[in-house]
Amino acid sequence: MDYETILKTLCDEIAVITGLDPAAVVPEAPLGDNRIDSMGFIALLVAIRKYWRLDFVSGGLTAADSASAAALAHRIVLELAR
């Protein structure tokens, strides 16, 4: 799966979690600026597990990986390529 598709899925999921308009989600902005908080982040990890079967709930993400939706998408691409 390519980076663009993953990023779009992540941004759509952020919109569902936060109630934001999907067009208002900024992929490069910090997740907090897209109104993701502690519970929202766990909901995002649940979505990642559902879509790509990657389990980050118990850890494995660095602060850099979760800096933005774009950074998270990069990390998912890397994991899927392994």
């Binding site: 979690i17 936060t18 109630g19 934001l20 308009d21 208002a24 997740l31 109104r35 993701i36 908080d37 502690s38 519970m39 929202g40 982040f41 766990i42 909901a43 990890l45 649940v46 597990r49 559902k50 709930v57 118990s58 850890g59 993400l61 660095t62 602060a63 990986d65 979760s66």
Partner: protein, 419 residues
Amino acid sequence: MKSYLNGMDHAAAGLAAACRHTPGRSNHFVLTLEFGGAVQPAWLRERLEALPEMVLRLLAGRTCRGINLAPWWRPGVPQPVPLDWQPAADDAWRRFADLPLPEHCALAVRGVTSRDGRSIVFFKFSHRLFDGAGAERLLRLILTGAMPPVWAHPGMPSPALNDWTRQFQAGKRLNRLLRAIGSAGVILDRPATGTARSGGRMRLKTVTLAPVRNLSEREAGPFMFGCYAMALSARAVARWTENRRFNGGSRLVMPVSLDLRQRAAAEEAIFFNQWGILPLEWDVLAIHDRAWWIDATRRQVAAALATGVPGDFQLANLPMRILPERAIGWLGQHCFQRGAGTLMFSFLAQADLPEQFHGVDIVNFYHAPLMPPAPTCGLFLNCWRDRLNLVVCWREGGLEDDGEAEALLALVAEELTGV
């Protein structure tokens, strides 16, 4: 358009009924602002008088039932918000918290001026119309004076009478979860004795926020502060119960409250209960494994969010709306007394309040609800600027003495700061 109550509003009504013999006659909650200097009562009175009529009508409202028995909130005749000012006293919070709110009045305010001239202002909110996060939003409007011209419709716009399938599915999921918790073994339990008529008590401890956040990032990873706080508070409770007169259960169950506001709509989601409950459990035998507590918490929260359990509490008890409120209160108490929890836990992240009011610094801000007779005791965490406030609230008699609450707070602080 009518504002119908959701499932958590019914739960709040049930809790209020369970508290009817207490001095405060309800389970309202108090938000406290501590100022760095003196606040003039006139400043607050002016802001309270400037509240829009629609807000004042909601504050003066009460529940009514339609022909379909679905309760809705009938706005009342606007009344001034009660505001008084008292000299300082050590038990100022307690005196105010134990006063019932006047009839059909969802907000009352009291200020006290300490001997050194600094003001403390208590805002007492009815749980029938507000939850903690919604109350913070109204408080921001009062302090800033920035009243929005348009408000989102509060409550449910319809009674959801044709939505039985979703309601029963939510109930089924909750029943399955609660039965699984109940059947897995003995739950560590605190005896709840003689507290149905007791007044409220609270103790506060404040720690510096930055080291806790750093430790959370290191031990739990990014964006995990809420889970970290839940996990280590629960571990502190487990340590606290080790040498006390509790039963010998090996499982700790703590009902945790979660704010279910969608962040984009949060600005206007002020009224009614927009939260849900998530019962979490931990194996007390794993007390020495700090990492296990954090991971077990993350996994349970993730599993609950995947199945939608926190939101189920808003839907599942809608069929109960046909019952009288006292019956809902009795059912809620009955469930707790069967061992559904040791104490209640709540965490609210940084409040979006101004740092000053009329040029006077707001030094601290914290939540302190009046706990229902069961589960008697609650632990409430919130952040204010560079502070993390740890508050224990309980019904008199629910803990042996203030020292017991202070011991719990010391353990929570120790867990969270790692010191």
